[in-house]
Structures are given as C-alpha cells and as structure tokens.
Subunit: 289 residues, 2 copies
Amino acid sequence: MALLSNLTSFLLSEMKLRFSDMLERAWEKQNSLLCVGLDPAPERFPARFKNSSHPIFDFCKSIVDVTADLVCAFKPQIAYFSSCGAEEELADLIKWIHQNYPDIPVILDVKRGDIGSTAAHYAKEAFGRYEADAVTLSPYMGYDSVEPYLKYSEKGAFILCRTSNQGGDDFQMLDCDGEPLFLRVAEKVKEWNINEELGLVIGGTYPEELAQVRQRLPKMTFLVPGIGAQGGDIGAAVRSGMRTDGKGLVINSSRAILYASQGEDFKERAREEAIKTRDLINEARRVSK
Amino acid sequence: MALLSNLTSFLLSEMKLRFSDMLERAWEKQNSLLCVGLDPAPERFPARFKNSSHPIFDFCKSIVDVTADLVCAFKPQIAYFSSCGAEEELADLIKWIHQNYPDIPVILDVKRGDIGSTAAHYAKEAFGRYEADAVTLSPYMGYDSVEPYLKYSEKGAFILCRTSNQGGDDFQMLDCDGEPLFLRVAEKVKEWNINEELGLVIGGTYPEELAQVRQRLPKMTFLVPGIGAQGGDIGAAVRSGMRTDGKGLVINSSRAILYASQGEDFKERAREEAIKTRDLINEARRVSK
C-alpha cells in the first residue's frame, strides 16, 4: 500500500500534473468542493499534544488523515507555522499530504504581494521549498507581483478579489469608473490568466459579489473562505458562485473543523463537521443544478 | 565596549522606545535618510562566502558593519531568507543589529496582508520572533488587516500606497470617485494612525505622487524604494517627499549597495555607494530647505 502510494506520488511528480487538472479530478472523484484549512493554533489543541515534540505537525496530520477522503484540497496558512518557527513541520506536513494523498492539491495560503526578484523568491519558497500546488496572492502591486508565479506554468495562484472580512469594504468596494475595485481586479486577473491556472479569492460572506464575478468569469475557480467560523451561508455561497456544472469552487473551512472539539474525540468531531459541511455544499449544488 | 553595547541594548528594550522616536533620533544623529535594504542573493555574493556555513548571515553582517554609521534604518526583505530556509540567519542578523547598533531601527519587509487571528500570527512572527521595529503591509484587505499590528503600540508599520513598479498603475492609479486609489489608501491610513506609528510606502520613481501625498500628510513618514537599481531620481524624490524640516523619509537602496562589487573589495565598494547615496540625498535636502 505504501509502495503503491509512493509510486503514485513519483508518477504524479514526474507528470507535473497541472493544479487545475488535479482540482477537476478531486472535485469529481471525491464528490466534494470542501477544502480544509490548516490553521494550527497550539493553545487550542487537545491535551494529548502537550507532550509531542512536533505538536503542529502531529495535530495537522491527524486532521488530514481523518478528512482526506472528504475534501478537494488542503490549505495550510503559513503564518500559523512561521509565527512559532515551525517551518520544518509545514514542509513535513505538505510532504505527508503529497505522499499519502497524492490526488489532493495543497494550496499554501501566503497572500504574498511583491515584485521582481523578491516575488521570485516568494514563489521559490512556496513551490520549491514547500512544494505547494498553488498559492494565494494580493493584487495591490499589479501584474509584476503575479508574473513571477506564472513561470511555474503548472502551479496555481488565487488572487484576492472580494475578501470575507468587514474591512474588505475599505477599498474593494470603492467605485472605480463605474464599478467596484474588486470587479476591476477580476477583469485584470482574467487578462493575466495565460496558463489558465489563476483563480480568485471571494468571501462566502458576499454571495451577491460571488454571483457578479461568476457572471463575468464562467470558468474560473474561486477559493471561498468565510463559511464556518466566519458565519457565511454555505447554500447562498454555492448557489451564487458555482459553475454551471456544479463545480468551480474551493470552499474553505478551517477552525470550525479543526477545533470542533478540544477533547479526546477531536478527530471524530472534526470528521463529522467536515462531512456535515461537505454535505451542505453538495445539497446546495444539487438543488441549484 | 561589548558590555556597554549590551547594556544599551538592554535599556532600550526595557524602555520600549517607539519606532517613530528611534527613527527621529537616527535621522538627526546619523544625518542620514538612507536605509540599506538587505536582500541577500547568494549567487551574487563574493567568492569568499562560498565556504561559509552561514553565508547569508555573514554577508549581511558585513554590509551592516560597513554601513551602520551611514543609515537611519536597515530593511531585511524576508523572502530572500525564507526561500532558502534561512530563518535562523534572519533572526541572528536582526539580533546582531540590535546588539551592536541599538539606535538603528530594523524594518522587516514582509508586505503581509491578512486578517484577524492570521494577521495576529504574522505580527507575532515579525515583532515577537524576529523582534523587528517595524514592518511593511499591504492595504487590500482594509482595516482588519492593519488593526492587529496597532496592538503593538510602540512598533511601526508602513502600508503600501504608491509602489515603485510599473504594474503599480494597474490598480493604484484607478480613478475612485475623483481621485486615484493610492490617495484613498493614504487617507485611510491617516484615519487608522491612532498610535502615530503608521507610515506609507511610496516609490521614488513617482515624485509627483510623493508630493501629492506629502501635501495631505505633512508629518507622516514615507518609506521610499525604487532609487538605486530601480532607477528613481534621488533629488526629485527628496524634494517632493521630505517634510518641511528636511526629514520624514526612509530612502531605501538594496542591490546598488549590496552588490556594488562581487570582488574582494565588496565591503569598500558597498560603503562608497552608501556614502554616495546618503550624500546625494543630503545635497537635495539642503538645496530644497
């Protein structure tokens, strides 16, 4: 079994499967649009991890192992690792996912935004050092801040468009020559999408905006945070954002799944919560199609 | 001498000197607005570093030691360290600067942009783990992405406003109800500046925009990249951006100083280039006052 898994992993890396292809296959094969966000906060871990020498890796691995058959992607958020010097644990975690669940893409949530050689170094960090399949990026610095990532033609990048937080209104809703800034970002990302590996981040808390962007970009993949702990309505997000074939969304839930329980039943409860979320998403897909 | 330096370092950390005060003192005492950006690219290091076990730390330390009396700040760019797993070298470098040059603030160039608990983890990374005095941030996600940094009331944060790259035009120049987005960002940052520790990043390649923002924000500090290797005109940037007292700017040069020579004379040439840049800045300050 391990040999088969290693062989698959080797073949996949040799084939350099494109991120978008991995995602299409995962949506289909897993029948799931759910992405589990890996935001490890040690103070919320169950007591059993107190004595672990690598608590962050061990906790995340537990969550990955009990949810891998329920998801289309995993999304580690890098700040939770780098704030406490857990870079090796992040690298080991992504390696674990690639080796054991080679069909599930890893989106490294970094929200980088810099240009030229600096952006090239950030891209090397995400795709070289950590071997992520995709990243998240900020659009504020424009094309030069996305271009270095396009050189990795088989890798994906999700650009912040309409974010799920309240402060997102500060700039994203400003009227730019007759339409809000976030729609200008969506239009630019459409232009930049030469490899067809770019996507957008659009909060599940704003179903109307999801619908507006979907109307303009019928094929693009949207990464949707803001459901679960942040309170977005899953049904509304799915109905507004999905492609006509019922796919096209990567719907993220982090804390609601990771910390469903802080007791010894944390794995069972995380799995239950992931099943519940996946099923709510699938119900909305069925009703809408 | 080492004892005195350690004592000063201890006292400074006990006093929790505000970033803005450190900067005012450094401008005055050093008579310099120059910031040396630390962007270590090992392939551009002189041959002597080939056999070093910590080439990134050793190279940056050499640059710091020969320029510390010429600058008002140092600005390490984190991607150059994280792309090759040199987190410990970054921590050691900042520690080296604090211990040996306690009057010189360290701006950690991270351009983070995230919200809530994720932003809190990024802040912990910069101010806790690395003990930076200030950071750079992206504004796209709005107030929630800056607020977690404001809790470190003595620390600074420079928000991207008008960046020095060509692609900066993609969004920053969009007309938002009669004025370009970057001016909207400047106005918002003015509102958010409760600790008076926020500044703006405005490229030296755009002196007109520097002047526009200075007119609205006569006291705020601007971090100015884009001179040196990126080709901005130092004189125009200084004339357009400085406060009426001839200060208020942190003018960054990275590659032009770091890689002035790749030979054995790299330290002398780096120092010469730093002196030349500082003096060009000071000449423009004198002429304009």
